[in-house]
Amino acid sequence: MWIAIGSLTIMGIVLGGLLGVAARFLAVEENPLEEELKELLPGSQCGQCGYVGCSQYAAALAKGEAPVTLCPPGGKAVIEALAKKLGVTADLSEHEEKGPEHAFIVEDLCIGCTRCIRECSTDAIMGANKLMHTIIVEACHGCGKCVPVCPTDAIVMVPVRVTLRNWHWPKPEIEQTHSEPKIGHAH
């Protein structure tokens, strides 16, 4: 028995050591991953993740320093894509899916200061000095950076409207006779 224990122990140490050495000397450059992660991010450099821009967030992700749930404009789809790429399970419990949003300018409140225009990273706000601004919904990806800079709180985030064009059937709720929960709880 001692021989068995001994040989297994030695094998463990040797193989473990080899793995350790390999990890150090044969380490793969992480840059390609960083590049791929950057591709997955919206690329609008909105900075809501707390990093300067998408590249920086991608770098942090690649180093494993940042969770995958930090990108609000990307929504659930981006979180899932990042998690898949990094091989981690995304903790979606913290993430409340708001659905896609876009900015909306309450035109009565807008004073035409152009501050939001300077902030917008996708040129989604139209307008000029002293003129009322409007959002080009097609170009707005809902990062919300324009909201805090507005001096008159004229910008609000609104959910993208469900119309006949983008409506689709929800996932069917099947009332399976086989997995029906037991009779409901008392009130």
């Binding site: 059937w169 069917p172 709720e173 006779t177 086989h178 029906e180 929960p181 037991k182």
Partner: protein
Amino acid sequence: MSIATIKKSGPFAHGYTSVQKTMFTVLLALLPATLFNLYLFGWPAILLFTVTVGACVAIEAACLALSDRPVIAALGDCSALLTGWLLAMSLPPWAPWWIGVLAAVFAIALAKHSFGGLGQNVFNPAMVGRTVMLVSFPVVMTAWVMPHPLFSAGAPGFLEAFAITFGGNVPDTISAASALGYVKTELSRGIPVSQSMAQVPGLMDMMLGYRAGSMGETSAILILAGGLFLMFKRIISWHIPLSVMGGLFLMAAIFHAVDPARFASGTFHLVSGATFLGAFFIATDYVTSPVSKRGQLIFGLGCGVLIWLIRTFAGYPEGVAFAILLMNGLAPIIDQYTRPRAFGRNSKGEPLPLIKEKP
């Protein structure tokens, strides 16, 4: 005016099909063969049949209750009844009661519910039940009797039957070998097939079912009738039965032609053992066979060839159950590789090339 809230998209029409109806039709198709065989093997068979079916339904109910599912609604689909029925038909007619109960436990609890219940099991529950019993209790599971029709001379009465099924008092004198078993044993003693074949019942008796065998497998004619009824009702298609029997017959016929002393003929293989029952009622089990017609052909052929291989070369004289279980395991893979070709695409899923022919 607004109408009730919309929960479902179309279609707003449905064929008159249901799981329950399907299972019921299969039971109906089994009825003639079952009744005939129960008559043939008398009271002990009737007792064992009742015990096995009852045990299956009871275990199904227990499993459903354990997994918090509505028991009555799920029992209503008759799937446990059908499993129990087929299981009973595959047991030796005079086997003791505990064989039926134990087989039911393995069939329903292990093969069906531990996989997630109806529709989720990989292996045919009835065949799992039978096979586990055969491997564990080979002697009891191969104790065949010659037919003792009800009320005929020498047939056990109800009380005697009670003793046989529940007391284990099988009279030694009446045990018999099945044709397949007999041929195999004789071959192992050096007697060629051609010679031992003279001792087995004639082709007509084999077809009608006057022979030793499992409780429900002996009457090829009645099982065939049931199978044709199912085809007529479009519950099953010809693909699996034909390919099972075709595969078996072809293998047997070829080898019989090569060496008649060593290999039994194709016809003998077809009418003996559980070939018909297996081909029409067990291999065609929806849950454990492939969904596409092409897959079903491959599946059936595989079953047929395996049945012959096992019967001819393996230790057991009968191979239907083993062969079907082995192919059950392959069904998901067969499914993956036999998906039908999508409209406008080639078999790889790429769009077809645009060929503009002149009409």
